[in-house]
């Protein structure tokens, strides 16, 4: 009944499909958040283009001892993983199935995790410990302290795994225990230390040819969701006159200590270094995908929001990003498992 073509087609599809080994699949997370990915690229290299179809799974760095992790040979480092447990804050996550992890459940999870051969170190932090750590870390920053309440946080297991651990398989086993609302795992993003070491306080990204952002004159097709809207008309690159105007504005704005210009090639180099581990992302990204930018250092006493707001309104500017603020957002997301709305605290995104 089947023609030869049908048989050939069926066999080819089956064979292609079979190239995926089920054992290597990352577990699904109902509560994975997409937005952080995008924010994060803005912070690292300012990739203003939407890298569609590229997967940087949201495997965000777990914190732990960052200093040590950076200093040592990465191949021999233990793998650090944080498992955020289901608490009041994450109750709505379908991964939690309306169940809060009780102390008793946490104890039994701990025993099971400790019994796993890959686990070399395990630390449990309850909600108040996590909150105390947060308060201490952001003691000097009123806005951040106001933004996060103890109830937003949940207890967490901080694990260290043997370097050779098959992490996806491990995470599958760990999440199968139930009660894990989210996990964070470092592999795919550069370390927070690198971000913090960067001298740039504020980046002013300039419009490139075919820019996809409305600030560069692009027109988005109507539709939902917001993140998937198609571009009806691409934007325009910054003109020479506009570039001069932006440079002049930067030079005359009080509170800016220094300024440097970053070309596409320089941005790409930085990006390549930051994402050395992420082959897929690197393959998908070309130097021409990078935006050019002015990188600014600001006086800590100046009104940063004022500077950012002023530059953002200029023609030919795609977006202005407060890198310090975005880095902190990311750090909170990574270390404490909560997502603080960026617009509210950093308020610097125009696209």
């Amino acid at each position: 009944m089947n023609s030869p073509v049908e048989n050939r087609l069926r066999e080819a599809l089956v064979e292609a499909g079979a190239t995926i080994d089920p054992a290597t699949l990352m577990p699904l997370q109902a509560s994975r958040r997409r937005r952080v990915r995008v924010d994060f690229r803005l912070v690292t290299a300012g990739v203003a283009v939407v890298l569609a179809g590229v997967t940087t799974a949201l495997l965000v760095a777990s914190p732990g001892d960052e200093q040590r992790a950076v200093a040592a040979d990465p191949s021999a480092d233990p793998v650090e993983v944080s498992l955020f447990l289901c608490g009041a804050a994450t109750l709505k996550s379908p991964d939690c199935r309306e169940q809060i992890v009780t102390e008793e459940k946490a104890r039994s999870m701990r025993e099971i995790l400790q019994g796993m051969p890959d686990v070399t170190e395990l630390r449990y932090e309850d909600q108040m410990t996590v909150y105390a750590d947060f308060r201490q870390r952001y003691a000097s920053n009123r806005a951040w302290l106001d933004a996060v309440a103890p109830g937003d946080l949940t207890a967490v297991f901080r694990l260290k795994l043997k370097p050779e651990t098959d992490v996806p398989a491990f995470l599958r086993r760990a999440t199968a225990l139930g009660g894990v609302a989210a996990f964070r795992y470092p592999k795919m993003i550069p370390s927070l230390d690198d971000l913090k070491a960067d001298k740039t306080d504020v980046s002013v990204f300039l419009c490139a040819k075919q820019a996809p952002t409305p600030s560069c004159g692009a027109v988005l097709a109507p539709g939902k969701p917001e993140t998937d809207r198609k571009i009806a008309k691409a934007g325009k690159a910054i003109t020479l006159a506009q570039l001069n105007a932006v440079a002049k504005a930067i030079a005359t704005t009080p509170g800016i200590r220094s300024m440097s210009y970053e070309s596409q090639q320089e941005a790409y180099e930085r990006f390549r270094k930051a994402y050395a581990d992420n082959k897929v992302l690197l393959q998908a990204t070309r130097p021409t995908d990078m935006p050019t930018s002015f990188r600014l250092q600001l006086d800590p006493k100046a009104d940063w929001d004022d500077v950012v707001g002023k530059l953002r309104r200029m023609d030919g500017v795609a977006s202005v990003v407060n890198s310090r603020c975005e880095t902190s957002l990311l750090e909170i997301q990574v270390r404490y498992g909560v997502l603080v709305p960026a617009q509210k605290l950093c308020g610097t995104r125009s696209s």
């Binding site: 073509v5 292609a16 499909g17 569609a52 021409t288």
Partner: protein, 175 residues
């Protein structure tokens, strides 16, 4: 400060568990479907992950739990479509992603014979390609294919027939 709310309400617990288990049960299958559509594994995994998260968000809209698998499949399917669309729009010049499984550069080694078939499938119009994938990879009925693709049963049938004929021609086989 608010933790993202992913589900419409507490009374939907049971159904939510259902969708989780559908994904758990069919995870590999869905990723494979996405793979044969988009070509590379990383994107395929991401498409399924995204569909999973979105299905949770949109669960309230689904009336009939019996159709959950079809719904989930459509979600993955639509995810693949939008990946392909975005690629076409944004990466015309750049190397867009991992070499697809049907290319000679792929790390995954398929025989020349298989690649030839998959490449010929690539060349078909989108609807024919999709319908053939659903029929010959998932063995779906005309009606199921129609539902997944959002077309009528008879359109599905004729699309498959036309696709198959075109494929046979491309591969130099009379059928």
């Amino acid at each position: 400060m608010k933790v993202e709310q992913l589900s419409p309400g507490g009374f939907l617990i049971r159904e939510r568990v259902d969708v989780s288990s559908i994904f758990a049960e069919h995870h590999v299958g869905l990723v494979r479907l996405a793979l044969v559509m988009v070509g590379d594994r990383a994107t395929a995994e991401d498409v399924v992950q995204e569909a999973f998260a979105r299905t949770h968000a949109g669960w309230g809209r689904l009336r009939d739990p019996d159709r959950a698998l079809a719904y989930v499949r459509s979600a993955v399917f639509n995810g693949c479509r939008s990946v392909m669309r975005r690629r076409a729009a944004l990466f015309r010049r750049a190397v867009p992603y991992e070499p697809p499984v049907w290319s000679a550069e792929s790390e995954v080694l398929l025989s020349e014979e298989r690649r030839e078939v998959l490449l010929a499938l690539r060349e078909l119009p989108r609807r024919q390609r999709e319908a053939l994938t659903l029929r010959y990879y998932l063995d779906l009925s005309d009606q199921e294919i129609a539902e997944t693709m959002g077309i009528s049963g008879s359109t599905a049938r004729s699309t498959i027939a036309r696709g198959l004929a075109a494929l046979a021609k491309a591969l130099g086989e009379g059928s």
